[in-house]
Symmetry: C2
Subunit: 245 residues, 2 copies
């Protein structure tokens, strides 16, 4: 199956102040769709773990023309664009009510060895050549994220129990929340995150005290650097906020 | 339909460090099941809003013998135990793989007028007498939560964008996280939240600085008081941690 579609309905408890799907929950849905498709192709968590390996999300770029609204049925379709024995490039199309396309995403996943934290070699797993889809993903690949100059402000954050995932690292969704929270609620009332990019470099653990540093460029492009306990970058994000129409 | 069942599968991205459903996500599922059933009975958000009213969760008690595990299909069945024109008492049964019962929950919902924030009178909505189910819920009703003596510690928390729900208040799931984070990851490795109770008294808003105050009793019963911007209690929680077997 070259494509997998995950269909969801946005519940009242799942929406944000603007009564839309929050960015961090879209990211969680994207990871769920990726996981389900990898399982289906026989390259999921269980298969990789038999060799002591796991997929780690390295980079993600999302572009949305709007977000799903409360009560709306939406769907994520995912497919593999490219792969080799170390990584896979997986894309997504997001549709809203009536199947109308409302966004796309591109992601890069790296296979690592759990024990050594070094890149894994997936040469032994099933050949994926038949699984590549030629479906197009009409958004820009992610560029190299660079923090544009000095940060405007840094806020400390200590990693809590509810932030920890099954690998005992800070969850991806929480990274996205920490970045999204660098601007106020009034920004989200006026604008929405039209393009979001994130690149991970180093994992954070329970109890680490991070620095969440941000800088707003041109009033609508937010750069965020989340620095780990040793002050090196753990992840870099960029969010472009477009005006609501 | 006197009962509604919501079936889910715990994904890798949805589980915690113990590879189980986190308490806050169980609470979100409970709210989703309640919302879906209320909509089905014609007493949901849309119907209440035509009179300017809304349901507000007032109290919740949960008892679990264990939590759903990664990859496990679990289900929540909800029914109304009691109601009058001001409130409804709604219960839940939680089952895991093979339909085995793993927990129950009791909740109290109050209808309020959105503009006045005062109790609403639901006399005009559909008669619910036919909707009451006699199914039993074999857990203790929630007692009056009292904070047992002086708190051990208080930590400030400022309400962020990602904490805000569609009513522009702190989300229920985030209250649960703030309480659950008062103990360390090692506690969750040794024990699990076997009984959880929460009672809400006052809403918190974006930007409020709260105090999260906690006290551990007998090494396994955690009391938490979350105090709002004016230092009065916004909610009280109690979590009893049982040993894992």
């Amino acid at each position: 199956m070259k494509e997998l579609t995950l269909t969801k309905t946005l519940t009242a408890a799942g929406c944000n102040a603007q009564m839309e799907l929050p960015l961090q929950n879209l990211v969680r849905d994207i990871i769920d769709a990726a996981t389900a498709h990898a399982n289906h192709l026989g390259i999921g968590y269980d298969r990789l773990m038999t060799d002591g390996n796991a997929w780690v999300l390295s980079r993600l770029a999302i572009e949305m023309t709007r977000y799903p609204r409360v009560g709306e049925e939406y769907a994520l379709t995912t497919w593999i664009e490219d792969f080799n024995r170390h990584f896979s490039a997986r894309n997504f199309e997001i549709t809203g009510a009536g199947g109308k396309v409302i966004g796309f995403a591109r992601s890069i996943w790296i296979a690592i060895n759990i024990a050594s934290r070094r890149p894994a070699d997936l040469a032994s797993i099933a050949d994926l050549a038949d699984s590549v889809s030629l479906r197009s993903c009409p958004i820009e690949p992610q560029g190299k994220l660079r923090f544009g100059g000095d940060e405007d402000s840094c806020t400390p954050y200590t990693v809590a129990v509810s932030d920890i995932d099954s690998n005992r690292h800070l969850t991806t969704a929480r990274y996205v929340e920490l970045a999204a929270n660098c601007v106020g609620l009034d920004m989200y009332d006026r604008r929405f995150p039209a393009r979001f990019e994130i690149a991970f470099t180093k994992e954070c653990r329970y109890g680490d005290t991070l620095q969440v540093c941000s800088r707003m460029n041109d009033g609508c492009v937010l750069d965020v650097a989340i620095k780990g306990a040793d002050s090196t970058d753990s992840c870099l994000c960029r969010i472009r906020f477009d005006e609501r129409t």
